[in-house]
Amino acid sequence: MKLWLYVGRRLALTIPVLLGVTLITFSLSLGMGDPAAPYMTEKTTPEQRDKIIEQHNLDAPLPERYITYLSNVLHGEWGFSKTINKPVSEAVKIKFPATLELSILAFIIAVTTAIPLGIFASIRHNRWEDHGVRLFALIGSAVPIFWFALILKYWFAFKYGDITNLPLGYRFDAFLWELDDPIERPTGLLLVDSILAGSWVHFKDAFMHMILPAATLGYASMATTIRLMRGNMLDVLGQDYVRTAKAKGLSSTKVIGHASKNAMIPTVTLLGMGFAGLLSGSVLTETIFQWPGLGLWTIQAMRNLDVSAILGLVIFSAVLTILANLLVDIAYAYLDPRVDLGSQISIVEIVIVFLSFILLGAAYSDLSLGLTVLSVIGFLAVAGIAFATAYFLSTVREISDLWAPAMLFGTAIVVMSIFKNPESNSEIANYFRFIPDFSQLVLIMLAIWILSIAMNWSEFVSSLGPRKEEWKRMSYQFVCNPLAVFGLVIVTLLLLMALFAPVLAPPTEAQLERDPMRMEENFHFNHDLQPPCIEWLSLHPLEGCTGERGEENGFILGSTNKGYDIYYGIVWGSRTSLDVAVKVVFTGTFIAVVIGVISGYYGGRVDEVVMRITDVFLAIPGLVLALAIIAVTNDPSIENLMYALIIVWWPGFTRIIRAEALRIRKLPYVEAARAAGASDFRLIFVHVLPNCITSIIVIATMDMGGIVLSLAGLGFLGFGGGPDLAEWGKLVSFGQEHLLAGETWAFFYPGLVIALWALGFYLLGDGLRDILDPRQRD
């Protein structure tokens, strides 16, 4: 009985999140030009357009428009997709099974391989099998999914295609399924339909088409699941009850069996969150394999500025993610008898759910009713904020009580300074491209820090002794971890490459004039790709190498078909990656730390509200949201891409910091300090924050890798900064067209660098985690 109440409660909580998602999509839709566009087809006449405007209240004030929008969404009226030439809701129904089938197969592949591997690695902890599995998993996370897909496609479908008979793309052989021998497709899931029809031929065909894309998608999930399962198993194996089990005389197989069951439970929870990742990944995978699912449609919609499709996809993918999380939550509550099913609901929760419910109901039935409810909610929200502010101000006694608003203000300043963008001035030497304002900010902070040390010089000197000991111990431990050192080496090399780009790949006069980050087209080669000049790098029988750049003649790593020098692109691409990664991570960290600490420390209602907001953002798969933002704002610049990435990235990090702050707040030494009379300000800055720093450093490092992966994904899809910006993802996309001609260098090398960058930062982050906080593990 309690379980049903729990299920009901979780279900109820999804309503406000969905509402929040519609708010986001509505705001996005406002930025998209002609408001009637979503509802028009090609054949719409001007009079019909006017009618549409009237019908959907598109010329009415915002609140009315929102309610109408909401009502439309609820009634299934999601607009018309010009890409597919069908109403969005219908298109979703057609395309969803394809993505579903693919995701399910990928999920099965991932879980059936990852869980045993994770268990295996944990049993052989710290032996070479363990390191091997960990490396395998890390590579899986570091490898860009689109690059991996291309490699698979090339090797299995093309090069050895005669042996494997694997098709190059699409979902089924159209001849077989539509002309020769059509079968009933009741479920839309081809494998299932083939079984139902009893046809082995169809089954085989569908399966062969699915293997490569499913393997691609599966590998990334596999990687995270392996690390998860291994970590949880290691935790469980260290528990007392494992020792008791051994003391009972159970064989080690049985003991591991027990441990696995226990370790599965937390793994299940996080698997659900991985589902959002699957959806993001499918966007890239489907593009490469021409798989006719939601992902491919997303890209087509982006390119065509198909507003209704974009927004519909955002909502739909959010629904899927929320459902997946709900299922996982319920599974967890069912599996783990310790979960407290009856924990109290808070006022905030009740209010939010209640109001959302009413709003939905009202919007569904009647427009004016919906408007009334909306205005009531708006009024309550404003009143609530005013009240909260007044209450907060009334508790302020001394300056240090204002630490929270001060932190928020400071963050706003930092964010603004990072994104203040003076028009790029090419007369400034390339070396100083980064210096503008962001660096000034860093210098200021450095100065403050040095000043504070100088003021307490003697203190500082005497505290150096033990600190040096600590550093020595940490460096020693770090050096003993070969993977971490490897990561450090990779990262250093890449950073040096970025720093010395002008030396390693000198730009031509013309480039210096414009912007060295833009690659130069060399038209001399008539749109033919040029292979690398060094034979063993070309991965392909050398056909000769002509050209005026690079070592002797030609391009060191070959060129793309527009004559872009791949080597140049890779070297200068490191600068793009560094630029984006640093700015996004820095900003994101600031925002996440400030909001996370405030939320985690104060708890209560503030925390609840922040959690709900992050819930809404986390419900939309990252890549989808980023794409939607970019498409809507129709701004191809790299800055816009960075904004999109920050918006996508901040909620996850915030929740982690919040959990840390929450945990530390309860520790005895914080209590002791409070008992000594410390103010909140002191507790946060002296006790909570410094102890959060390890998590912050580790996660920020690893995200330096992750952000670049996202950047590359977006670049691969063609977004960010124009086609000639030196960016690794773009280079890979240029190369993919020539895959079938066997000219693999074009996509291979840029992808390799992306993988190396991500791998380096992940290894480094892992290593840092081991030395800074041995309590946590992979």
């Binding site: 007392d240 020792r243 008791t244 009972k248 783990d336």
Partner: protein, 384 residues
């Protein structure tokens, strides 16, 4: 019954080799309650783990002998150890909530022990089971029947629907062979289920738990601390061991519950005649419960003898210091200066010598051996 001679155990850690046990000598007689007492790091728990071969991978028994009822089990095989663990030596631990599997019901945790170590008894109580034989021939024969029939059909017939069906059946039966042992063991479980429940409830009743069937169906976290510890005792005794090792069984419990558990252990010992080895740091518990006591310090045994003798007239300076450091009725409390040594680099000679009030020069050179007949002391300065 249990004899440990010169046991030396080392731990290989990041920072070096920890010499956890340096020549431990123990001698437990059948039917007695034997106490091992000492402070943190003295090696009392490590001794029991060495005995049961439950040491972590980083540790190893370097030298010494351990024998149970005359059988040398120092290097016993893993299969022999599995018989011993739970079947001949039972063990209970300190924090019952973390020592019990949180996601398994109590009855499942106890029945595991019964199925491992009391199989005969289980089968005796069930009819229709061939003793010792878990296999169920009916399952195997049914599978073979299905395979043959379906094979026949899909080779013969052409009708696509029945063809597919036959194919499905055939492949499923093949999969069935893979799961055959699982299915057989499940059916065995089902047949012995009644006897199993009976034995589980009996074991819970033995530890004086009210409502044993309700407890059996609960999860550990639903029970109170005292009840959890009783469950753990029931689990340890379910295999009818002759020796029970209790590693700090009451340290995590409230005082009044502690009395209950100690009382229970005494009663159980009288009822079953088993031997109990009580490991604790609490001298009071030892004085209450134990017939004979061993005092350990920093990986060595310093004094062994009858409880009454040790507590009324301790000979070793450490034991003396320990007893006078106990807060009691007098208002004077002496203490032992210094602290327990780091076993990475223990003092040479007698490990207690840096803190000893009567230490002489040779104490830091020669390791004192355990001298004496029934009452043993390891100190150069003590003449028995």
């Amino acid at each position: 019954m249990l004899e440990i001679k010169n046991l030396k155990t080392r731990f290989n850690t990041y920072d070096g080799v920890v010499k956890a046990l340096e020549g431990v000598n123990l001698d437990v007689k059948e039917g007695e309650i034997f106490g091992i007492v000492g402070e943190t790091g003295c090696g009392k728990s490590v001794t029991s783990y060495s005995l049961m071969q439950l040491l972590p991978r980083t540790a190893e028994v370097v030298s010494g002998n351990m024998s149970l009822d005359g059988e040398d089990i120092t290097y016993a095989s893993e299969s022999r150890m599995r018989e011993i663990r739970g079947g001949e030596i039972g063990m209970i631990f300190q924090d019952p909530l973390s020592a019990l599997n949180p996601v398994m019901k109590v009855k499942d945790q106890i029945s595991e022990v019964i199925r491992l170590h009391q199989k005969e008894e289980l089968e005796n109580r069930t009819e229709k089971v061939d003793s010792g034989n878990e296999r169920n021939p009916y399952i195997l024969w049914s599978l073979i029947f299905v395979s043959i029939v379906s094979l026949f059909y899909f080779l013969k017939l052409e009708d696509s629907f029945t063809d597919t069906l036959a194919k499905l059946l055939f492949w499923s039966s093949l999969v069935g062979y893979v799961f055959l042992p699982e299915m057989e063991s499940n059916s065995y479980r089902a047949r012995t289920a009644v006897a199993e429940t009976e034995m589980v409830v009996e074991s819970l009743r033995q530890v004086r738990l009210p409502n044993p069937s309700q407890v059996a169906n609960s999860y550990p976290h639903e029970l109170s601390g005292g009840m959890q510890q009783r469950v753990m005792i029931a689990m340890a005794l379910a295999g009818r061991p002759r020796l029970l090792i209790a590693d700090e069984p009451t340290t995590a419990l409230d005082v009044t519950i502690q009395s209950q558990i100690l009382d229970l252990l005494k009663k159980l010992q009288k009822e079953t005649g088993m031997t109990i080895v009580m490991i604790t740091h609490d001298l009071g518990v030892v004085a209450e419960m134990c017939d004979r006591v061993t005092v350990m310090y920093a990986g060595t045994v310093v004094e062994t003898g009858n409880a009454s003798e040790i507590f009324s007239d301790p000979k070793h300076p450490y034991t003396q210091g320990l007893l006078s450091a106990l807060p009691g009725e007098s208002k004077e409390l002496s203490s032992i200066g210094g602290s327990v040594p780091d076993l990475l680099d223990p003092p040479s000679g007698c490990r207690f010598n840096p803190r000893c009030s009567i230490a002489k020069a040779h104490c830091s050179v020669d390791v004192p051996l355990l001298k004496g007949e029934d009452y043993k002391v390891a100190c150069h300065e003590v003449k028995l």
